[in-house]
């Protein structure tokens, strides 16, 4: 049950990324290029997802267990620190340079886009480098 839900969630998520235009780095850069010819489309991707998400999280708060029987795990961390902001700045810089964020990069890689595959390998290396050398304590 939980495995099927996970596979289906990933599939629907990936289809949403494709329909929404997130898997096209050119479109991502068009969204981030607020000083040039601005394409606001991707704000609607995030807006549409949040419009559903708000109800999902409201429903999740009224329950303790998911359909699979697992505990519903909603983050409780409210810390705002330099790592949160610095991490966001580094991520954003990479997002702007390449036009890929993690989910769309995986989808684009699977569709056969070579630069997305290079990006994913570098991203995994970045994650590993962080956990090896930059993790707290």
């Amino acid at each position: 049950m939980r495995e099927l839900i996970a596979l289906l969630s990933g599939l629907i998520f990936g289809l949403g990324l494709i329909v929404g235009g997130m898997t096209d780095p050119g479109k991502v850069k068009g969204f981030l290029d607020v000083a040039g010819l601005w394409d606001p489309s991707l704000a609607l991707v995030m807006g549409g997802a949040i419009a559903v998400g708000v109800f999902a999280f409201a429903a999740a708060r009224r329950r303790t267990t998911a359909w699979s029987g697992d505990r519903i795990d909603i983050p409780s961390n409210t810390t705002i620190d330099a790592r949160l902001i610095g991490g966001g700045l580094l991520f954003g810089a990479g997002w702007g340079i390449g036009g890929f964020c993690p989910g769309p990069a995986l989808v684009a890689m699977s569709s056969g886009l070579g630069s997305a595959a290079i990006f994913v390998v570098a991203m995994l290396a970045g994650m590993a480098l962080h956990d090896r050398f930059l993790a707290p304590r």
Binding site: G10, F13, G16, V19, P25, A60, G86, G87, L90, G92
Partner: protein, 147 residues
């Protein structure tokens, strides 16, 4: 501010967003988990590299499997939309490293902090989103209008 009407796809992007919202809701209410791709990818990677229990990561791995199947499922019905990449291989590697380090340091990305965090009105996530949106816009500004 000049709008790029030729590339503006309000209905497709809204539909894509709704689908992402449905997937997020399904993973949350069905499996009790946050659909944050950075975490879904980094947790099994960490297990793999530290000799942890990879079998315990099967739910996340299946979510990734779903993401990887998506473009193939799409192609059963329609050609994939075109993807335009203007960054060279060196820039792509730099971008990947920055994204990998940044999402681990900030503990989330466009989905975890963006969609999930903002959907539960998390101030912590909003701060991260403003940081990555600002840095993304700055990077594109420098690349397109300064260099």
């Amino acid at each position: 501010m000049n709008l790029d009407w030729n590339h503006f796809t309000p209905w497709a992007s809204l539909a894509g967003g709704l689908l992402i919202g449905v997937a997020t809701a399904l993973y949350l209410l069905g499996d009790g988990r946050i659909a944050g791709i950075a975490g879904i990818v980094s947790a099994p990677l960490r297990a793999l590299l530290t000799g942890g229990n990879l079998a315990a990561e099967r739910v996340r791995l299946l979510f990734i499997g779903g993401l990887l199947i998506a473009p193939w499922a799409w192609q059963l019905f329609a050609p994939l939309p075109e993807a335009t990449v203007d960054a060279g291989p060196v820039a792509i590697v730099v971008a990947g490293l920055l994204v990998g380090i940044g999402v681990r340091m900030g503990n989330g990305c466009t989905s975890g902090h963006g969609v999930c965090g903002l959907s539960r009105f998390s101030l912590r996530s909003l701060v991260n989103v403003l940081a990555f949106m600002g840095a993304g816009a700055a990077a594109v500004f420098v690349a397109r209008h300064v260099l």
